[in-house]
Structure formats: structure tokens, C-alpha cells
């Protein structure tokens, strides 16, 4: 009997298609798993038991009636709390949005609902997706299922940990500077940041509009491709959405063919600054691709030296403006200033924004306000936009010599909770390898490359492709996954410690109130 919590989305879809299980069975198994382990992992901010089961039952009925369903219909999914969901709280990990229930669905969520995937709940994240650890969530951090004392990555640590703790086979993410790829890397899961504009941003609570991109998170390359295909495609509600067919990503994932492909190793994204075990797994992965028929070239992208600085000017600038709407007037938190009788709207705004935003959010808003302010615009935001062009140009040159570029996804394996919380710059360095793709708008993926020798924790292998060539990510990712599974004798996650054996568990059979908001 298949363990429904460990099966891939593709396997679950097959089982349902063959009538060997139902969406209700799968959904129930996952909800039970959540009750058992999420007290320790804290992947979810909100679980929608009723809603998920209702969708599961509806899909089961339609399947029984012989209707043609989406390939992933009935496969449950967890949705990052950055995406608006009608009738479900959406907080973006912030206190300022505590209890906000949107009156509309993000386009991605609408597509998920239309395809009949039960939404299990909303996953934890760094507040407004600012962070690499989930430690900036207003509702407490998520934990890495490989080692509960360690970070699950961020901002999408709720989505990465929900997958690695077998609470869901699929999850959504958003990636502004690595928030899908870095969490995937440190949890031994897979995640893709599509080409900018490949997936609609409508209904994603914006961090930095020109960098944000939603994408799929899963445990296998094929599942990631299937979810990617579901999420992607033109949306007239997003002016930056690409009006062109989605590249053949599922086909590429199934073919897993890298023969004749030129794999470019980016000189600036390897070696110094990368943990030895991470680098070692990376080097082996490259060799696997060579064994699979690819050719290796080395490329240089000199402007990447400035990528982090560029990113930490553009992001705060856009964020300072995007987050201005949280002002206590129309929705969300409203806090009166202390010691002020009859406060004005201005005072209530300022008091609410002080109380409702966490430190990292405030830091970035102030930094962005500075970078855009008159007299400093040219030196900061203006310069950053120019360097951004240089970085995009570096990619363009590199892609003349290579079909894909590769690097370790993150410089290290998961660090300990609390290790970098007081050092913003050290935290920012986690994104050194993932940020350039966001600046240039190109697609990137992280797939597991193995466990680092020194700490036994997962490392990630990043693949980057030219804009609109997302299918190449899947060809390379799937080929690598095939070879590594053969070496490992199965998925990397088979080696993850048993949470139920170690973690203090909550009673499994407790009948929970539906739609419990957790951690508040």
C-alpha cells in the first residue's frame, strides 16, 4: 500500500485515475499528518480542513461521473500566504494583515481551484517575503524537517517544510531573490522561479514588483513541472504577464534529455564563499550531467559582483512604495498611538505601521525611501537600475556560450535558527547565487544535489536558463534527478529523519476546529 503522504503528485494523480484511491483519502491522510507534525514544523499559518475536504469530495464526485479532469485534479496543495484566497485569511506573514480575508483570489489560486486541487492551507513565510529563514514571520518561524533547530529557508520556508515533512506533495511559492530556490535547496526539495511574466502576479502581495515571480514547489522535478504548467500562462490582469505559449516544460521533465547541451559554470558563483560539502555535491552533479551527455563550459559574469548591492537597492525601493498601502485605513490592523488624545489619520497610520511591521520590513522601507528620495535617487536607485542592465547583459553573453548556467543554489546548507537574525548583511548573503536571475528576469530552478558531508544536510543545485526557455531547466533537472536517484537508491527525502520518532507530537486524533489560524 502506497503511503499517500510520501507519494509524488504524479503518482497520486495516477492512483486516483486508476480508482485506487480518492482525493478524500489523500486529503485526509495529509491533514492527519499535519496534525501529527506541524506542531513541531510550523509550516502552516492556517489550515482549511473543511475547504480542502469539500474540494476533494467534489473532485471525487466528478471523477466518478466520468468527467474529464485536470491531470492534477484532487491532488492537494499548500498555498504560500502571500497569495490572496477568497474566504481564507491572507497575512503575508505580517501582523499588519492579521485576520484579513481577501474578497478575491489571486490568478494562481483561481487556476488551482479551477483545476480541482484541494487547498490544504496557507504556508508560513518571512513577513512580506523579506528574509531567507522564515524567522521574520510575525507568527514565528517554520522549522527544517531535516533538523528542527535549523531554518527551512525563506521566505518560502513554510512551503519547503510542508513538502519535506510530507504534509503536502505540492506547494506554491514566490521568488523575489531566491525565496523558492533557497528553501528548496536547504530542505532537499525542488522549486522553480519561472521567467518573469511567466506566471501571473495578480493577487500576489507585492514585495518588489519587477523582481517577484510566483512558481511551483514540489518533491520531484516532474511534479514541479506539472504544477508550473498549471500556474503559468498569460493573464490579462497582469500587465507584465507574457502573452505567449508556456514552454513545453512537462515534456522536457519527462524526456530528461541533456545530450549535446552546453552547461555553463558561472565562475563568480562557485568556489570561495561556498561551503565545502555544498561545492563538492555541486561538482559531482556537474559530472553526472556530463555522463548524461552534456558538455561543460566555464563562463564569467563580472557584474554579478554588484548583484547583491543592486538587489538591495531595487527591492527596498519598490517595497517601500508597495507597502505604503498598509496604512490602517481600508483593511488590516489599526492601532492608536499611545498618549495621544484624538489622534489624526496621519498619527494612526504611523503608529499602525510601527506596530504592524517587523524590524526587517521597517529597515527595508526606510532604506528604499532613502534610495528613492530626491537628491539620492541617481546615486542609489538610478545606479542600481544601470547595474541591473549590466547583469542582464552578462547573462545574455553567457547564454551565447551555454544553453543553461549552473551553480550551487545557496552558499551553505541550512543554518541554525537565530544564527543570523541579528546580522542583516549575513542573512542577505544567502541569496548571492539566486539574486542575479531575478534581476535579469530569467528562470531558475533548484534541485537536490545530495547531503553535505560535514553536516549531513541537503544542498541544492541551481539551473538557470534564458528567458522563456524554462523547459531547459526541467530537462537538466530531471536528468540530474534520474542519475542521483539511481546513485542514492531513491529520493533524497527517503533519508530524512522520522519526525514522529523525534519530535514531540500533538495527539493525532484531536478533532480540530476547522480553519484554525495558528501561531498568532
Amino acid at each position: 500500500m502506497t503511503d499517500l503522504t510520501r507519494a509524488s503528485a504524479a503518482e497520486l494523480a495516477d492512483l486516483m485515475a486508476r480508482g485506487e484511491t480518492t482525493s478524500r483519502e489523500i486529503t485526509t491522510a495529509l491533514l492527519e499528518r499535519t496534525e501529527a507534525v506541524d506542531g513541531a514544523v510550523h509550516s502552516y499559518l492556517h489550515v482549511d480542513r473543511d475547504g480542502a475536504l469539500a474540494t476533494a469530495d467534489a473532485v471525487d464526485r466528478r471523477r466518478a461521473a466520468g468527467e474529464t479532469l485536470h491531470a492534477l485534479a484532487g491532488v492537494p496543495i499548500a498555498v504560500k500566504d502571500v497569495m490572496t484566497t477568497t474566504g481564507l485569511p491572507t497575512t503575508c506573514g505580517s501582523r499588519i494583515l492579521q485576520g484579513w480575508v481577501p474578497p478575491y483570489d489571486a490568478t494562481v489560486v483561481a487556476r488551482i481551484k479551477a483545476a480541482g486541487l484541494p487547498i490544504l492551507g496557507k504556508t508560513n513565510m518571512d513577513e512580506f517575503a523579506m528574509g531567507s529563514s522564515t524567522e521574520h514571520s510575525a507568527y514565528g518561524p517554520s522549522h527544517n524537517p531535516w533538523d528542527l533547530d535549523r531554518i527551512p529557508g525563506g521566505s518560502g520556508g513554510g512551503s519547503s517544510s510542508v513538502l519535506a515533512s510530507f504534509q503536502a506533495p505540492l506547494a506554491t511559492g514566490t521568488d523575489t531573490g531566491g525565496s523558492i530556490r533557497q528553501p528548496a535547496a536547504v530542505t532537499g526539495t525542488v522549486g522553480t522561479k519561472p521567467t518573469y511574466g511567466g506566471v501571473s502576479r495578480y493577487g500576489l502581495i507585492a514585495l518588489a514588483s519587477s523582481l517577484d515571480q510566483a512558481g511551483p514547489c514540489a518533491r520531484t522535478v516532474l511534479d514541479t513541472a506539472m504544477l508550473h504548467e498549471l500556474m503559468a500562462g498569460h493573464d490579462p490582469l497582469d500587465s507584465t504577464s507574457i502573452d505567449a505559449p508556456v514552454p513545453p516544460i512537462v515534456e522536457a521533465a519527462r524526456r530528461a534529455d541533456v545530450r549535446g547541451m552546453r552547461i555553463g559554470i558561472v565562475r563568480e558563483l562557485t568556489g570561495e564563499g561556498f561551503q565545502a560539502g555544498v561545492q563538492q555535491r555541486f561538482d559531482e552533479a556537474v559530472q553526472h550531467l556530463v555522463d548524461a551527455g552534456a558538455e561543460v563550459v566555464e563562463v564569467s559574469c563580472p557584474s554579478f559582483t554588484y548583484a547583491l548591492a543592486t538587489y538591495y537597492l531595487i527591492l527596498p525601493s519598490e517595497a517601500s512604495s508597495n507597502l505604503a498601502k498598509f496604512d490602517a485605513m481600508r483593511y488590516g490592523l489599526r492601532v492608536a498611538p499611545r498618549d495621544v488624545d484624538d489622534p489624526s489619520a496621519e498619527q494612526v497610520m504611523a503608529a499602525t505601521r510601527d506596530a504592524g511591521f517587523g524590524d526587517e520590513v521597517k529597515r527595508r522601507i526606510i532604506l528604499g525611501t532613502y534610495a528613492l528620495s530626491s537628491g539620492y535617487y541617481d546615486a542609489y536607485y538610478g545606479s542600481a537600475q544601470k547595474v541591473r542592465r549590466l547583469i542582464a547583459d552578462d547573462f545574455a553573453s553567457a547564454f551565447e556560450r551555454a544553453d543553461v548556467l549552473v551553480s550551487p543554489t545557496a552558499p551553505t546548507t541550512a543554518f541554525r535558527l537565530g544564527a543570523k537574525i541579528d546580522d542583516p548583511l549575513a542573512m542577505y548573503l544567502n541569496d548571492i547565487a539566486t539574486i542575479p536571475a531575478n534581476l535579469a528576469g530569467i528562470p531558475g530552478m533548484s534541485v537536490p544535489s545530495g547531503l553535505a558531508d560535514e553536516d549531513g544536510l541537503p544542498a541544492g543545485f541551481q539551473i538557470l536558463a534564458p528567458a522563456m526557455a524554462d523547459d531547459r531547466l526541467y530537462a537538466v533537472g530531471a536528468a540530474l534527478e534520474q542519475r542521483l536517484h539511481a546513485v542514492w537508491g531513491g529520493p533524497l527525502l527517503d533519508r530524512i529523519p522520522d519526525l514522529l520518532a523525534s519530535a514531540p507530537t500533538t495527539p493525532m486524533a484531536t478533532p480540530h476546529a476547522d480553519a484554525t489560524t495558528k501561531g498568532a
Binding site: Y306, R353, L425, L439
Partner: protein, 98 residues
């Protein structure tokens, strides 16, 4: 220049409508100074004659037809309001006209 005075941070916080208290302000001055020094390195890049890049994809002229789409109901619109009255959002007194 990569120096942020306390006055400057206070001014920025006011612009950004964040009521930082003394201890936050003091902490922020130090933290932002470090970050700013780091990000100021963009000014060292060779950017003469480089066109700024505001959008990652070179799309232009994306518009929609002038056709009415359904609005929210007033109930939906006001559902999240901290306060409402007479089908309007109720906000604290406003200091000055825009």
C-alpha cells in the same frame, strides 16, 4: 555618500509614516549605516552610457479594452475595514487637505 544621520533616519521614517521610538531609531541608524555602505558599491560599477533597466522583460503597450467588469459589492469592499459608516470607510480626522 554612505552616511545616515539620526536626523536623516527620523526624516525618512516620517516620510514612510513609521512612528519609530527612540530605541528603534537608534538601532536603525547603526544597521542602515552598515547596509548602506554595502549597497553603495553599485556606484563603483562601470555604468557610463548604460540605459537603466526598470523592467526585466521588454514589453510595451499592454492595455485593456474600455469595458466594464463587475465591481466588488460594497459589503465585500468594506468587509476588511477597521471601521465603516454609511457605506463608507471611516478614518480618523485628516490634518490637512491634500
Amino acid at each position: 555618500m554612505a552616511e545616515l544621520t539620526r536626523d536623516a533616519v527620523e526624516h525618512l521614517a516620517r516620510l514612510a509614516r513609521i512612528d519609530l521610538d527612540e530605541s528603534e531609531l537608534n538601532r536603525m541608524v547603526g544597521e542602515l549605516g552598515v547596509i548602506l555602505e554595502s549597497v553603495a558599491t553599485v556606484q563603483q560599477a562601470p555604468t557610463e552610457a548604460v540605459t537603466p533597466m526598470s523592467h526585466p522583460m521588454p514589453l510595451v503597450n499592454v492595455t485593456r479594452p474600455d469595458q466594464i467588469r463587475p465591481s466588488l459589492t460594497p459589503q465585500e469592499a468594506l468587509a476588511g475595514a477597521p471601521e465603516s459608516d454609511a457605506q463608507r470607510f471611516s478614518v480618523p480626522r485628516i490634518l490637512d487637505e491634500d
